[in-house]
């Protein structure tokens, strides 16, 4: 793309940063998961998410037109320049928190990719159609674990419910439209996130019921990530994620 497009750049950062930050958090389980199969599963999930972020941030860099590539955007931005939803940056917590976050964000992702796969922007549509296939098996994995944990032992039920209670106040932000997105959504380039909130809730409720878990009602919804106002956790995560690239700028291997 030759003409810089600030609103599209921001929209691509929101898409890419969600996957980059959640992907990095997921990679923290590598070598630490409760069983080998889940260690492998989470490494695969992280790989998919970081792969999606790579494609989205590469395109974001091209749209920005300032010569930044995906590595510059991933490793040389400060926390206030990140546009991920707060949910993605929270510490990985126990296994229930990890699974519940993958489930809540994964269902959102499936619906978002599904909507974006008919974007009028061919690059976004192509990335979305590919990511949709991946998000579908991510949700299958997380959803089956939600049911297994929720409808499992007293201990696993307690932890799964605690995880849902912890994460629920961060779900509202996923569906809060951003002011600079209205024009792009109207033009069919992006998708209005609020348009699939009802469908999201329906899917969540169905699985929560099967998992014998309860959705907390009336929670105050946190926000700020889309505007660069993050929790204290993101800075610590970025310090670890960015240290090698910043210590050896321009290194190739």
């Amino acid at each position: 793309m030759s003409t810089p497009h600030p609103a599209l750049f921001e929209a691509l950062l929101r898409l890419g940063d969600d996957r980059l930050v959640l992907g990095h958090r997921t990679s923290e389980w590598c070598g630490h998961a409760p069983i080998l199969e889940e260690d492998i599963a989470l490494a695969n999930l992280a790989l998919d998410l970081i792969g999606q972020a790579n494609l989205l941030l590469e395109y974001a860099g091209a749209v920005e037109g300032a010569g930044r590539d995906q590595d510059a955007l991933a490793y040389f931005r400060e926390a206030i320049e990140f546009r991920n939803a707060l949910m993605c940056e929270l510490p990985k917590g126990d296994y229930a928190v990890t699974i519940a976050r993958h489930f809540l964000h994964g269902v959102f992702s499936v619906l978002q990719w599904d909507a974006l796969s008919s974007s009028t922007d061919a690059t976004i549509a192509g990335i979305a159609a590919k990511a949709l296939k991946e998000s579908r098996y991510h949700v299958r994995h997380a959803g089956e674990w939600m049911i297994r944990l929720g409808d499992g032992t007293d201990e696993s039920h307690r932890r799964a419910q605690d995880a849902v209670n912890l994460l629920w106040p961060f779900t509202g932000e996923l569906f809060m439209p951003c002011s600079d997105d209205a024009e792009l959504a109207a033009a069919g380039v992006t998708a209005d996130v609020s348009s699939f909130e009802a469908k999201w809730r329906e899917t969540i409720d169905d699985v929560m019921l099967r998992a014998t878990l309860t959705v907390p009602e009336g929670a105050w919804m946190q926000r700020g990530g889309r505007e660069g106002r993050h929790t204290e956790h993101l800075g610590h995560m970025l310090a670890e994620m960015q240290i090698v690239a910043r210590s050896h700028p321009g290194a190739q291997w």
Binding site: E37, E38, I40, A41, A43, N44, L45, L47, D48, L49, I50, G51, Q52, N54, L55, V107, V110, A122, T123, A125, G126, I127, A129, K130, A131, L132, K133, E134, R136, Y137, V139, R140, H141, G143, E144, M146, I147, T203, D206, V207, R210
Partner: protein, 167 residues
């Protein structure tokens, strides 16, 4: 080199380039190579599509394609990535599926988009064991040693085996 090769010849050459993670399949059989266009001056543009967004083998595959064609004497090779249509295992032909099974990897079933996001029962059954051909197998994990494979287990020969994920 004498003359400009045909598109068919270029694709036949690319059929010699194997997937680095599944070395019994070529990048053509896998469906990663979508097309090759040969221009009058011998420049070849190969169109590829990634299997998974984060597949770490994609860069290696692109380099292998370029190396193969440059070694064949082509003057210039360009590898172009497209995302549409999205890669699907349905593109893998029957002949390649047989090679996968002989190699010890159960070939993918049909790529079915299930209606429910968290279905009660999977639309695809489990594959037969690539070693003893038993149907008494189970899916242990949808995730395996690479992005493209799942982990299964055979109740008869009591061997774990991998299955190519259907997507």
């Amino acid at each position: 080199m004498a003359g400009v090769p045909t598109r068919e010849l270029v694709l036949a050459w690319l059929d010699e380039v194997k997937d680095p993670e599944v070395p019994v399949l070529s990048v053509v059989e896998l469906g990663v190579v979508r097309d090759a266009v040969v221009s009058a001056d011998g420049t070849v543009t190969v169109t590829v599509t990634p299997t998974y967004s984060g597949c770490p083998a994609m860069r290696v595959i692109e380099e292998a394609i370029r190396d193969e064609l440059l070694l064949r004497g082509l003057p210039r090779v360009t590898v172009r990535t497209v995302f549409t249509p999205a890669w699907t295992t349905d593109w893998i032909p029957e002949s390649a599926r047989a090679k996968l099974e002989a190699y010890g990897i159960a070939p993918p079933g049909r790529a079915i988009v299930e209606e429910a996001l968290v279905p009660l029962r999977r639309a695809n059954g489990t594959p037969r064991c690539p070693y003893c051909k038993s149907a008494r197998t189970e899916l242990r994990s949808e995730f395996g040693s690479t992005a493209c494979k799942s982990l299964c287990w055979c109740a008869d020969c009591r061997q774990p085996f991998e299955m190519f994920k259907a997507i």
